[in-house]
């Protein structure tokens, strides 16, 4: 997007697997359908969640995304793991003793529910992000009829997130090299002034970007540069994961 190195993002892992080659909008729809099936599965169908995990494992293997990478990136779910762990302790209802702790049965089930569904959702999202670069992800959103304006805002945000974060990092380095270290709320003022300066710089950069766009002939809409067609085979390949999950869910509910 911005030169040779701007195509990737924090989670993208270049490759040439069937999963990588699938059009981005097919992958987004497949992911959404899969997670919806997972969320709609009754929480006491324990083996179904195991089957979903196996399905995701197959996708990861086909895409060549190593397990270690997925596990390392799963740290984003730490906050709700804490919530899930608290569930059995704070929930109501009949209680059972586990290892000397009095835990709520309902709470255990709830904690499991959040943990299982949340983890499957996170892993599925990691797989999407690891196999799709930013540009095709945005083009995929556009193909899915997400309003152009929103996609444009997202593309500007992603394009300049590194720049703005870099600005922020330089301000922090400037503060720290002068001996400043934020230790309590009284120091928040200094950091907040940095944030204020960051806003002014970002906004002014936006104004300059707009002028640069105008001078290159921008007339209210970005030109569409992708003309790739999506074949029926693509959709069928993309449907494999959510369809398999749906079969698991139906079997689990009926059995």
């Amino acid at each position: 997007m911005s030169g040779g190195h701007g195509h990737g993002h924090a989670l993208y892992r270049p490759g040439d697997s069937p999963v990588h080659r699938l059009p981005a909008h097919v992958k987004i729809v497949a992911l959404l359908a899969f997670v919806l099936v997972v969320v709609a599965t009754p929480r006491d169908e324990y083996w179904a969640f195991g089957a979903y995990a196996v399905l995701l494992g197959v996708v990861a293997a086909v895409a060549g995304v190593p397990a270690g990478l997925i596990i390392r990136r799963m740290v984003v779910e730490v906050p709700f793991v804490v919530f899930a762990v608290l569930m059995p302790i704070v929930s109501q209802g009949p209680r059972i003793d586990v290892l000397g702790l009095s835990l709520s049965e309902h709470g255990l089930l709830t904690g499991w529910n959040i943990l299982a569904k949340g983890t499957l959702g996170v892993v599925a999202s990691i797989l999407l992000a690891a196999t799709t670069d930013v540009r095709s992800l945005l083009a995929g959103l556009q193909r899915l009829r997400v309003p152009d304006r929103l996609v444009e805002i997202a593309s500007f945000m992603i394009r300049y997130a590194d720049v703005v974060t870099g600005d922020m990092r330089r301000m922090r380095i400037a503060r720290e090299s002068r001996g400043f270290e934020a230790r309590h709320l009284g120091h928040a003022r200094v950091v907040a002034q940095g944030a204020g300066a960051l806003f002014v710089r970002s906004y002014e950069r936006g104004e300059r970007v707009h002028l640069a766009m105008l001078s290159r002939g921008y007339a209210g809409a970005m030109p569409l540069t992708t003309t790739a067609v999506t074949t029926r085979a693509d959709w069928l390949r993309g449907a494999a994961l959510p369809l398999a999950a749906a079969v698991v869910a139906v079997v689990a509910v009926l059995a």
Partner: protein, 347 residues
């Protein structure tokens, strides 16, 4: 506050998705009025700013730090509709690229963080501004109070969603008390940071602050004989007249009182509904045993023998202290000169 997949059941997720889509659609149309055709680059850069600021950790106490949600901040800086777009895009990108916040919960997250905090923050800030003197500096307490109110309200909306579609058997009363307790604390932090950040921007570029539009005093020229005459029609300079903080303080106190009335109305109305549900389900008795039940202000003063009125006065005290701190920051030259120093230090 990012909600993951599986927290709310599928129907609730789909419903909040529809709400979020409608909200974003309205915001897309209205944002044209705020930024015209510059929407894409400016909202994009503001979204990048919000994204960066959310990574900025502010020290809260010894060893702990919090980060900004930025709803009220973005609303005050760039206007509510653009702010809805910015936060929605940030959430979309976080969900798609960073697996932060579930994809089926995207609608919930946009409704809570992208729409509720922005709209509440903006409406409260406007209400406060209507009472305060018409000066750019008034935006600072307005933004802070908007931020302060927006976070607990978003938490309340989450509790409501959880009561409707939560896959858990938590007692509604206990959940409400703990969520409100925590998020009022978080809201105070958010208010301090939002106020300070807005004050830094107002000191440098008051023309950029959307909520401060039309608040600048008309430029006056001082003649040689000392008389003041209105300047000929031209873009007024950024300098703002700084007078005594007294009228601001009095106004702020009145606002605090008015707000306490409104907030305590909400505070007593909403949990009542949930407590009704709780009683209906028959677990209100057990809810009293919860760890937060002993917390003196939980349930708005009904526990621990503190009447609602006293809780309200305590609320006013908090708001007044906060206001005084902010007036200190805005008033006097220190805010301006040190922000300039920061600017220079960074170069």
């Amino acid at each position: 506050m990012h909600v993951p997949d599986g927290f709310l059941n599928a129907p609730t997720s789909v419903a909040t998705g529809a709400v979020a889509a409608a909200g974003v659609a309205v915001a897309l149309r209205k944002a044209q009025d705020e930024l015209d055709e510059r929407t894409a680059p400016l909202a994009g850069l503001t979204a990048a700013f919000v994204f960066a600021v959310q990574m900025l950790n502010f020290p809260v106490g010894i060893g702990t730090s919090g980060h900004l949600m930025g709803g009220a901040l973005a609303a005050v800086l760039v206007g509510p509709w653009t702010a809805v777009l910015c936060l929605s895009v940030v959430l979309l990108v976080q969900g798609l690229l960073f697996a932060d916040g579930g994809l089926t919960a995207l609608g919930t997250n946009i409704s809570l963080i992208g729409i509720t905090t922005v709209v509440v923050g903006w409406v409260v800030a406007r209400a406060v501004l209507a009472v305060l003197p018409k000066r750019p500096a008034s935006v600072v307490p307005a933004a802070a109070i908007g931020a302060l109110v927006s976070v607990p309200v978003a938490a309340l909306v989450f509790v409501l969603l959880f009561a409707v579609g939560g896959e858990a058997s938590l007692s509604a009363g206990a959940l409400t008390a703990s969520m409100l307790g925590w998020h009022t604390l978080i809201g105070i932090g958010e208010a301090v940071i939002t106020g300070l950040t807005v004050s830094a921007v107002v000191a440098v570029r008051p023309d950029l602050v959307h909520a401060a539009r039309g608040l600048r005093a008309p430029l006056q020229l001082k003649r040689a004989d000392g008389t003041l005459v209105p300047a000929p029609a031209a873009e007024p300079a950024g300098a703002t007249a700084r007078g005594s903080a007294r009228p601001l303080l009095v106004g702020g106190g009145l606002v605090a009182l008015a707000l306490a009335g409104i907030v305590s109305f909400f505070a007593s109305a909403n949990p009542d509904g949930l407590e009704y549900v709780a009683e209906d389900k028959g677990f209100l008795e057990t809810a009293r045993d919860h760890a937060f039940g002993d917390f003196a202000l939980a349930d708005y003063g009904e526990v621990g023998g503190i009447p609602v009125g006293v809780a309200g006065i305590l609320g006013v005290a908090v708001v007044v202290v906060l206001g005084v701190v902010l007036f200190r920051v805005v008033g006097g030259r220190s805010g301006r000169s040190s922000s300039r120093a920061t600017e220079e230090a960074v170069r």
